[in-house]
Amino acid sequence: MNEFIYLTFDGLSRGAVYAAFALALVLIWRAARIVNFAQGAMAVAAVYVAYSVTNATGSYWLGFVAAIVTGLVLGVTVERVVMRFVDHSSPLNGVVVALGLVLVIQGVLGIFYGNEFLPVAAPFSRDAFELGGVAVLSRYDLFVFVAVGAVVAALTLLFTRTPVGLRMRAAAFAPDVSRLLGVSVGGMLTLGWALAAAVGSLAGMLVVPTELGLHPTAMDVVFISAFTAAVVGGLDSPIGAVVGGLIVGLLLSYVSGYVEPTVAPMAVLLLLVVVLLGKPGGLFSSSKARVA
């Protein structure tokens, strides 16, 4: 029972990170109908920048800010310089270009930082508090929850309460009509990429201290988990991405705890296959599917 409680909290904490990362994928999917396969590599790049800044200044938080800013800049660059020019007649083109970016980013990171795992310290203790003799949560887990919660809340407010959010949604759903109404659709697209990449960077910052360390391929498995989370949630739905992230996190935690940590990735793959074949629209696909 104690183990179950511990694993549940651990799973939710991991899940929160996957939720953030899945959210980043969903943001771009909604805006551009592209699954950004370079999301993981972009996030790793941001974490490397944070690593350098933290090493130079001794401040985790300066590094944290640097990572978010790097995310924004990378998002804008990737959209403006590359993705904007991709021929969208086949959905494969965007995928292949994103994979090319993965190679470039991982190669550049390897050249600058080498291919050894670099240790990254967490800003808070990762030792779990005990509640009634049961290890539950660490300070770091709390930090993760707060950070991801804040991002989800901020994005929700942005999209539902602000004119910019309305423009972004309209531009994604009906680009031509939006342009006729004076919305700069290209600008909204760039903004969407920037936001998504920043959220992805945040997820990278949160996940790397809990893994083996920093490496150009550090986010590969995380990407798969987040992609699965996004697919579980329906790829189109931000709420779905969050719920999907938590589901994947719990699954990973239970499988690691009760079976074997090395089996956990297989479990994610299995979940992905089951959802894709059983309910390709995601577990929460509603009748309010896209009409246009």
């Binding site: 190679l103 470039v104 991982q106 550049v108 600058f112 894709l276």
Partner: protein, 343 residues
């Protein structure tokens, strides 16, 4: 309706193979090209120094998998990022079989059979998926499958991998020449089989499915079966390629089949020109030449960080540039005139 169809036809990147005249004109050369290729390789193996022979062998091994992928992606429209994992399957099967029975032909056969079976499983799932979903699933396969080696480490020996026991080459043939022969025998047989397959009904069905699934269905083509079959065929090719790599390196380990390998394969077929088997050859050549070049560049620069990583950057940049400049790949701009009929 006719309107839509016409638009699609004129917009399709690859011309229809239905033109019977050109197909017939090329039918005899298919074998001739293979025989000429075999003769060329044979001659090369006597002229090249051992290390170059080893590289030649590597090109042959790559050609097996790029040719299979070309058929899958270029002709059938399915993108697989998981063929690195399928190669790993073939490689590990060969290693295990060799170490147990030490019968090379049987080990190769087993490697192909096992990989084909695995490919059929993935293909069954893949046939129901499109675009980014399929890419994501196969990417997951590429990333997750190597972790199996740690789960069942008694069989696969984790990250260290396995060494492959081999009989010495027959007679006095040097090892590298023997390797080049075997790899190219595999590659040429693969290409010949694919050419025959692609020119037959199966090829027609695949192109029909790629161009317009609904129309293909209306024409009585079993879309799902065609797609599974395409996946299975390309998996068999990947299995052979993987087995050849195990045979070449005389060892297997998960590190030899990273995600980047799968991405390299995609790059090779895109740059080679989606859908052209000649493109698959260009792709296989690039896969050997580019890393070698960047390796020597890196050595000259004296930076060990450049090693390997420079190749990644070069591959990535080339891939992005080619995709932006010509989604049909380099072959679609430069080699189209010459080799289009081979598609």
């Amino acid at each position: 309706m006719t309107d839509i169809k016409q638009k699609q036809k004129s917009g399709a990147p690859v011309p229809d193979l239905a033109a019977p005249v050109s197909a017939r004109r090329r039918r005899i050369p298919a074998i001739l090209v293979i025989v000429a290729g075999a003769a060329l390789v044979l001659a090369l193996t006597y002229m090249l120094p051992p290390f170059r022979n080893y590289q030649l062998a590597t090109v042959g091994a790559y050609l097996c998998v790029t040719a299979g992928l070309t058929v899958l992606t270029g002709l059938n429209g399915q993108l697989s990022l998981g063929h690195g994992a399928l190669m790993a399957t073939g490689a590990y099967t060969l290693a295990l079989a060799q170490n147990k029975w030490l019968n090379l032909p049987f080990s190769f056969l087993l490697a192909i059979v096992v990989t084909t079976a695995v490919g059929a499983v993935i293909g069954l799932a893949a046939a129901r998926l499109r675009g980014p979903y399929l890419a994501g699933l196969t990417l997951a396969v590429a990333i997750v499958v190597p972790s199996v080696t740690s789960t069942f480490d008694e069989t696969f020996n984790s990250d260290q991998g396995l060494s492959v026991v081999l009989d010495p080459p027959p007679g006095t043939i040097p090892m590298e020449r023997w390797q080049a022969w075997l790899c190219w025998a595999g590659a040429l047989v693969t290409v010949l089989a694919l050419v025959l397959l692609v020119r037959g009904r199966f090829g027609r069905d695949m192109r029909a499915v790629r161009d317009d699934e609904t129309a293909a269905k209306l024409a009585g083509i079993n879309v799902a079966r065609t797609q599974v079959l395409a996946f299975v065929v390309s998996a068999a090719c990947a299995g052979l390629a993987g087995a050849l790599f195990a045979f070449l390196a005389q060892s297997v380990s998960p590190g030899a089949f990273p995600l980047t390998l799968s991405l390299f394969l995609v790059m090779a077929i895109v740059i080679g020109g989606l859908g052209s088997l000649f493109g698959a050859l260009w792709g296989a050549l690039l896969l050997v030449i580019l890393p070698t070049l960047s390796q020597s560049l890196a050595e000259e620069a004296g930076s060990h960080r450049l090693e390997g990583n420079l190749a990644l950057v070069v591959f990535g940049v080339v891939l992005v540039v080619v995709m932006l400049a010509a989604p049909g790949g380099l072959a679609s701009i430069r080699f189209t005139r010459l080799f289009r009929r081979n598609r």
